[in-house]
Symmetry: C2
Subunit: 441 residues, 2 copies
């Protein structure tokens, strides 16, 4: 965590000196990612185990997996033992199941036992991202004993900013910051230093995005994770939450348009094709439905080809309006607790925005077309279709994430694709049928 | 920061008891937001100033502004003085400039001076979000003196997890965690405890998204902010970064579709209309250009109305392909340092994905149309147009954020609107001109 000077060491004979200057594990990991697999393994083998562990924890998941699967199992186990358990579990989650067992069997039984327990949790839950190396203090102890205990345990624990106070049944009764402890009068009992706290904790099976929301809401450094009986299982720390927030923001944006939620520019391109193709096919089927609507009005278009010119403008404009509403709603669901009443008020708000912007854009379109074509009725049809489709787009954009969430799905997933299907289909239908009623005989 | 028990107090006579149970400022703020302005002001006036300050810091910006602008200036100044300077500046940034002066003049000259200095910084830079209440330790002091100093300053400072070590010229020479200090042998000089550090700092005028990226990269709790000469100005803390990340993720998604980057469901709807309308107009002009392309081929459509049925499918599919590339690239730019070479490799990757998905979707479309219409040539024209437009969409989706960034603009801003203009216009042109060449006489 702290900014430590690089320790002196003889550079490993791995055919490069990239790593010699890297002061921080995150930078060393970035440099490692530039090397070949053989060089990566060589560098990691020659680093002190604790530094190798820190670097491995920072490596991209797929790079770390390749290294662990190809390295000598004993070397790998030695590095894994030095990692914080939550980081080790993150890496092991990537490794092929068979090889994971080989690695775990090469570790000491205690280390393996702890990691196996952590590996059973869903990596998308609080328990899947929590850290188990925490300082527990008994509520009967004195503040002075607690400080002594902390000083003796300090080296083994990741971030002793808080100590967790438990009763004789190991249930969490309170949280003290180092600062609280240092400000307590000598001789005070830990129980009295805790006082009566409104404990804010999270259940072990809570979704990790919920964990991030709570920690962000309260500006905590760590959030205790408890089981159903209130026993402390571990803590989620602020740096895990920063990772979760970055992942969630990406997942929202990528999911909205039907890309793979875990994609980045390092994803193998064929993997990206496999993740995106199903949504492209769904999009194609959606747009085939819109095309069928146009096909029903083929006769109208044959009579007046100008309709085909204006038709995409209606759909495009309503699509854009809807996406604006969609983006606002998806982000709101990602950052805030959101009760049902407030959610539907937000849809109403989008509807009002849709009506006003629809009226403005509709009138603009109406006048422009009247000026360009001298066809007053065509302008009126275009303007009305635009207004109606934009209102629909705004309401749909606001509702789709809420509906997806109510169905137990990710509110962002493919929402843009569903929205476009709706605004395209409805836009074509409204415009072409109004045109059929008022413009053609 | 710590989870403190609520202090006992007589509930204020404000016609509600909502706030009596709120243990945490963030929860109290959430409850305050449900009240009328008069009730909000009454509750804040009756709270102890430090608690009112904490609650005010957590309030939504627009709510906080209304409270400050309507409250008695002396009451408001009393609360502002109790806030951490970075929080006070955030709130004051929202207040009308004239009233801001009134409030500052009601504070003590020292407090006002500090806030006025902070208010000069751009709120989107490191200096605009930094905290100035930090613990400075001279490098000549002993570790024991430093610990004594920290214990005496602890109550005034926001988060003493690190102490900042400066030389006699006030230049930053190192950072020590509380943990480092507690582990140092008594009698050690602070200078020796620091050793030789590779200092990771950020310049005061760095963009706040860059600050978030660096802090997230190194998993730091705080990042020191320095001026051009290396003097320490303040620190940005992990909780600020969590706020920045949530804001940036929202700004990316909202900006992409041309909504206001700071919009949420609490934004007054007319404000939203004002923020979205310019982009809707630009979108309309873009789609008018696409419509003009269709208009050039009006004769073709009059001959074969089926073209108008298929034409939107080409544009829609290429638009979706492009948005997938766009989302990947925007998120990558948001979370990682990204050199020019790697960026264009990422565009190449999108091009490959576009070619393969384009070939697959093109063939699907080609065969479906041949089956449905028995028109082999129409299928071939549709398939080729789809392939070409999807490749264009993928390359454009990958490039637009890079181009916007190279132009010094936000890589997300309106990117989806530009992309759709391109895929629509090109899709119509390619499809209708291929149809003109091969299908019509």
């Amino acid at each position: 965590m702290a900014q430590q000077p690089p320790e002196k060491e003889t550079p490993p004979p791995c055919g490069n000196e990239l790593n010699a200057d890297a002061a921080h594990p995150a930078d060393r990991a970035e440099q490692l990612e530039q090397l070949s697999l053989a060089e990566q393994m060589c560098v990691l083998r020659h680093l002190p185990a604790d530094e190798a562990a820190e670097a491995l924890a920072e490596l991209d998941g797929q790079v770390a997996r390749d290294v662990l699967e190809n390295m000598d199992a004993d070397d790998a186990a030695r590095i894994l033992s030095e990692m914080w358990p939550d980081d080790a579990v993150d890496v092991l989650d990537e490794v092929d199941e068979g090889h994971r067992d080989v690695l775990l069997n090469s570790m000491t039984p205690e280390d393996a036992l702890e990691l196996r327990a952590l590996l059973t949790f869903d990596p998308d839950t609080a328990a899947g991202v929590m850290n188990t190396e925490i300082i527990l203090v008994n509520s009967d102890a004195s503040v002075d004993d607690a400080i002594l205990q902390i000083r003796s345990e300090l080296e083994d624990k990741e971030m002793p900013y808080y100590v967790y106070v438990v009763d004789s049944m190991d249930k969490l009764v309170g949280v003290l910051s180092l600062r609280d402890l240092m400000l307590s009068k000598p001789g005070t009992q830990v129980r009295d230093a805790v006082g009566k706290q409104d404990l804010i904790t999270v259940s072990f099976d809570a979704d990790k995005s919920e964990v991030a929301r709570i920690l962000g809401h309260y500006n905590f450094l760590c959030l205790p994770v408890v089981d159903r009986e209130g026993h402390l299982m571990g803590v989620v720390t602020h740096d895990d939450v920063i990772d979760i927030l970055q992942d969630e923001a990406s997942a929202d944006m990528l999911g909205m348009v039907g890309a793979g939620q875990t994609e980045d520019v390092d994803t193998p391109w064929l993997t990206s094709v496999r993740m995106r193709l199903p949504w492209l096919v769904i999009n194609m089927l959606n747009s085939a439905m819109s095309a069928f609507i146009v096909y029903m009005f083929e006769g109208n278009i044959a009579q007046m080809a100008l309709l085909a010119v204006l038709m995409p403008m209606v759909a495009n404009q309503a699509g854009n309006t809807g996406q604006q509403a969609l983006a606002v709603m998806i982000r709101q669901l990602a950052t805030e607790k959101f009760d049902r009443r407030k959610a539907w008020f937000a849809v109403l708000r989008e509807a009002k925005i849709g009506i006003l912007t629809g009226m403005i854009m509709g009138m603009l379109a109406c006048f422009s077309i009247m000026l360009l074509t001298d066809n007053l009725l065509l302008g009126a049809v275009m303007g009305s279709a635009l207004l109606l489709d934009m209102i629909l787009g705004a309401v749909a954009g606001g509702s789709i994430p809420l509906i997806l969430r109510a169905l137990g799905r990710d509110p962002a997933q493919a929402s843009s694709i569903f929205l476009t299907a709706l605004t395209d289909g409805a836009g074509f239908f409204i415009f072409l049928s109004l045109a059929g009623l008022f413009l053609l005989t």
